[in-house]
Amino acid sequence: MKITDTFRVSCHNIRHNLGRTALTTAIVAIVSALVMFLLLIGVSFRENLLTVARYAFSVSGATYTMSGAQVLDFHNNINVGPITEEEYALYKERAEAHREVCGDDVAQTNSLSLLESLNDAFLFFTGNFRGFQDTTTDDGWWVTPPVIYAKSFSSVPAGITFREGRSWTPADSGSNAIFVSREIQRRAENGGHIVHAGDEVLLLNLGKEQQLASFTIEGFFEGDDTPFYIGMDKLFELTSASDSLYVKTISMHFDPPAGAYDYDATYASMKSFTEEMSAALEQDYEMADLPGADIFIMLFSDITRRFVNNFVDQMRLVDVLSSIVIAVFALLAFLVLLLSVGSVANSVIISVDKNKKFFGMMKAVGLNARGLRGLVMSELLLIVTVGVLIGIALLYALFPVANSIIVTLFDYLWSAELLPFAVSALIPVWLPLSTVAFFLLLTMLFARGSIRKIASQDVMVTLSEVA
């Protein structure tokens, strides 16, 4: 039987069973509208999340960073290597290929100057030590008291003796003068660093934002009995255990150009640059993987040898989040479909049953199982397609509802005044198509028993069941 004839016969059957087929079409219309509504909300959620992310990007740009620290965990001897010269060269080389999102500034990174100064300067670390009372100065430094003496104490505590340099005076408050424990000096000497009063030192803060500043050593004091001693001691165990305790960070910023630009191309380029670089790096240390002491983890929480682009990372999060949302809505839609498909399948079964005489006659004059299935399928396809088309019309009627849901949600999360949140106005083609496909698939699955039965039985059985 030709497909055109199959559909012609099905159309005829539908027209002459309007009561039943209209009801089924109505069910399909309502359910498909609901299903598509749910999927539309899911898809729109994603679209709007992307709007937010794009907006964030256009405002703040993207920062590329790669950091590495040469650190020896004194408990576990774990070495997170620094960024090597080769890696830096690689970075420059790859960045060349992505000039449009990297610009020409690759070499001009803060950290490289840090890198150079590290060679000469003796380095102290301050950090957020657990168990120690930290204070934050006005300009935002985390302060570990014994190191940045001048910044944190208004007077020198009793029992502290200066062995070299001068003692603290009120004028040192707020200046870049520091006073260092004698023990630190001794350990620095053990590590091959000779420090004297008057030396410039760099202080690196490895907290949230790495900060670096230069200080002058004004004096050394006997500090073994200070309550802060242990912290400094541990630090120096770290430093003295390795000559090369240093951190390197390559970092650069890309500002999206003002006015119109190709967002997708920009993002794709940033993404591939980021991925290429990450793949080229040896390892991506997740701090959680390192069985180090608390101190270690806290100190170096920002230090991985991963190449990071904050915007690409953010988009990855958007992807994951929106996939989850879409999955949840798709599941809901599937459930709705599943609940309703029974009634559609029933209508198919009834239709097969009601048409038994017709099918029996058709079989008597030579219709085979495939032809019979074709007739049932085409009738179903017509009903479902018309139903889904009506469903699309209903969906457009439900647009204001979907829109207010999305706007309310995103207005709550972000400001809708700032960004134009709306439901995706274009229903993606795959949405009705896959709804039709799912309906057909599920209905056939439910009704296949009765179709197979009538398709495979002897003609006379089909015909005699009518009487």
């Binding site: 005829h12 006659m361 079989k363 030579g366 085979n368 002897d458």
Partner: protein, 233 residues
């Protein structure tokens, strides 16, 4: 030539089982008008359905021109029917919502014939049967005699070699009935095999050969003599 060998048909199972055909061995010869004669419930329809490959025997074999029908699959049987056989039923089995033309063309639609060609052929057959003016009518709008002639047209449209008719005159008055009988005789004379199921001696008298059925047991013999009691008194 259709040959039935040791054909049995049992409906149902267990206590309620009906042994409708018992070891039937008969032959339907090509180009002959064969009548299946018997009382109600003797198994005539069952036998005809098996001869026409509408039904399959519980045991035994059916050969059509040497081809074993009982070995064919449902789909192969459907193709066989679509090519080789035409049916006329007592209750017509026309599709009331389709036009006369569509009803008659149905075997050709199933065969996948082009619309123009099949409609031409259906129209030609209908005109031959004197229904040329009814082709656009719905089947439900026809009289019983017209319906039966339409169903005969449907049984002929694909030019089968075997036409089977199950009590085709059962729902017709005597005038229409004898018209249908004359038609069947004509078909047989045109070289096709015709199998007629009837409980009517007069109708069976038109046949070249008669298969007697009694409680599922079949016997073949030549034509009935005028006035002969086929059940042997």
């Amino acid at each position: 030539m259709i040959e039935l060998r040791n054909v049995n048909k049992i409906y149902g199972k267990g206590d309620g089982a009906v042994h409708a055909l018992k070891d039937v061995n008969i032959t339907v010869h090509d180009g002959k008008f064969t009548a299946i004669l018997g009382k109600s419930g003797s198994g005539k329809s069952t036998l005809m359905n098996i001869i026409g490959a509408l039904d399959s025997p519980t045991s035994g074999e059916v050969f059509a021109d040497g081809k074993c029908l009982t070995a064919l699959s449902q789909n192969e049987l459907a193709a066989y029917r679509n090519k080789t056989t035409g049916f006329v039923f007592q209750s017509f089995y026309l599709e009331p919502t389709f036009t006369v033309l569509e009803n008659v063309a149905m075997p050709l639609i199933i065969a996948g014939m082009k619309r123009k060609e099949r409609e031409e052929r259906a129209r030609a057959v209908l005109e031959k049967l004197g229904l040329g003016d009814k082709i656009k009518k719905r089947a439900s709008e026809l009289s019983g005699g017209q319906k039966q002639r339409v169903s005969i047209a449907r049984a002929l449209v694909h030019e089968p070699s075997l036409v089977l008719a199950d009590e085709p005159t059962g729902n017709l008055d005597s005038k229409n009935g004898s018209e249908v009988m004359a038609l069947l005789r004509e078909i047989a004379d045109s070289g096709k095999s015709v199998v007629l199921v009837t409980h009517n001696h007069a109708d069976a008298a038109c046949a070249d050969e008669v298969i007697f059925l009694k409680d599922g047991v079949a016997a073949m013999r030549g034509p009935l003599l005028p006035g002969e009691d086929p059940y042997g008194g």
